[in-house]
């Protein structure tokens, strides 16, 4: 922070005088820092801060109701998916998610972001991010990791091809009882396309079985696949319901032909329309 002078010491009376402005956010940064410093050293001595702050929800409740525009939800979900994809691709990010507060972006940054996020479905955004993240890391990955990135990228692209078709459902599969995450799309004709990464390689006769759970119905097997050292997989199946709540799940089975899932579920996600 630039040098704007030392934070002044305030007396309790001075803090009480500033309490209204403080809870309303009407102090300049230096004054606010001074109040915070005082409160930190007098944690039990200023109930008036909480008392006055308690009125703010009434001010908020008095504003005219305005519904947000369609499409805002998709923008938010796309940005969150971007964040999630970055976390899952970066071990460092996974271990220590970015916690540094950021200021509200300036108009140029917001316009740049808007141009990136205001068109297309958020799934397309996910695909772009996954691809960018994967491509950006190419020079650093070992060959097996390079193959995994390329394989997953190709799988995601195939999922997106299905996802953008009218009437398609999409699902983000996240690790549940094990490792593995990915994307899936269910076409209007009941065809599922699935791209997964970070799965534990299968050994021996082991297979990953894909399941569909429609509403309260029992899980129905869709088919199985094996996973190599890259940890990625691409799977296509058919015969899925296309209406109602659909959950897609993966289990690791000792061999092909499972009719009942072997717990735990490795990864799962709810299929739903992409736009919202």
């Amino acid at each position: 922070m630039s040098d704007r002078g030392a934070v002044p010491d305030l007396t309790c009376d001075e803090v009480r005088e500033l309490a209204g402005a403080f809870v309303l956010g009407a102090l300049d940064p230096r004054e606010e820092a001074a109040v915070r410093a005082h409160l930190a050293s007098h944690p039990d001595g200023h109930d008036e801060i909480a008392e006055l702050g308690g009125v703010l929800p009434v001010l908020a409740a008095g504003v005219p109701v305005v519904e947000p525009p369609d499409g805002l939800k998709a923008r938010i979900m796309a940005a969150a998916a971007e964040d999630l994809a970055t976390r899952s691709t970066s071990p460092a990010a996974t271990a220590a998610p970015a916690q540094t507060p950021t200021s509200f972006p300036d108009s140029e940054a917001r316009e740049a972001r808007r141009s990136r996020t205001s068109t297309g479905s958020w799934l397309l955004r996910i695909a772009a991010v996954v691809a960018i993240v994967a491509l950006g890391a190419l020079n650093l990955l070992l060959q097996v990791q390079l193959n995994a990135a390329q394989s997953y990228e190709e799988g995601v692209a195939a999922v997106i091809d299905v996802a953008v078709q009218p009437g398609s459902l999409t699902a983000i599969l996240t690790a549940d009882g094990g490792s593995g995450s990915g994307l899936a799309a269910v076409s209007a004709t009941g065809k599922v396309t699935l791209a997964m990464q970070a799965l534990t390689p299968t050994t021996g006769d082991q297979v990953y079985e894909a399941w569909v759970i429609a509403g309260d119905s029992a899980p129905v097997p869709l088919g199985n696949f094996t996973v190599g050292r890259a940890g990625t997989a691409f799977f296509e199946g058919s015969g899925l319901p296309t209406t109602g709540s659909i959950v897609l799940a993966l289990t690791l089975e000792p061999g092909p032909g499972a009719t009942i899932p072997t717990m735990p579920i490795i990864s799962k996600g709810v299929a739903k329309p992409a736009a919202g």
């Binding site: 209204g20 809870v23 916690q99």
Partner: protein, 195 residues
């Protein structure tokens, strides 16, 4: 000093909100979707009221929900309901936005700590229990014109007390008093109504 407001017991919706926040902290996108569906109207209404700009309000709401998504683990149970927490984030982001729109306003080099309401005890819960349109209007009606002006310029326009003093040609000390006494009057009214 007056007795603090008696906090009511957390409602089932409070518990449900906290459960959503736990899932949010674990990176579940579905949880973010649920949170948005619950509070999108509240968030956008406040953002629009403060920015008076549909595009900027959208950006504020997006930044606020992404802030909640990235910092859900920072939410401290017992320091306020999820609704209070989210309301404070939206307000803070909106004020940040309008201040950046005003080139003459002094801005911090980095984002200031969360607003005071983020670190206050849960007060929304007990206030919201009696919040209907009549209650809100009655509470606002307790304000004198000058008190209302000072509070609205601060809370909805993002002006500092110094800026309010200059705009209204009022001594700074008077502005401080109007804000404090106005909020106090509203609080007294709500307390009387809840007993």
């Amino acid at each position: 000093m007056d007795q603090p407001i008696q906090l009511r017991t957390a409602s089932p919706s409070d518990d449900a909100d906290r459960a959503v926040l736990v899932r949010l902290a674990e990176g579940e996108l579905d949880a973010l979707e649920e949170l948005y569906d619950l509070y999108k109207t509240m968030a956008y209404s406040i953002a629009y009221r403060i920015t008076n700009d549909a595009t900027l309000a959208e950006d504020v709401v997006q930044e606020a929900f992404l802030g909640a998504w990235r910092n859900a683990a920072r939410y401290v149970e017992g320091r306020g309901s999820v609704k209070t927490w989210l309301l404070a984030i939206v307000h803070h982001r909106a004020i940040d936005a309008v201040r950046r729109r005003r080139p003459t306003t002094e801005l911090p080099d980095v984002e200031v700590p969360p607003p005071a309401t983020l670190t206050l005890p849960d007060v929304w819960a007990e206030v919201s229990a009696v919040l209907d349109a009549d209650t809100v209007q009655a509470a606002l009606a307790t304000l004198s014109e000058v008190q209302r002006e000072a509070i609205e310029l601060a809370y909805f326009s993002g002006l500092t007390q110094q800026e309010i003093a200059e705009r209204t040609a009022t001594p700074l000390g008077t502005v401080k008093s109007r804000m404090r006494l106005g909020l106090l009057a509203m609080r007294r009214h709500l307390e009387a109504g809840s007993t």
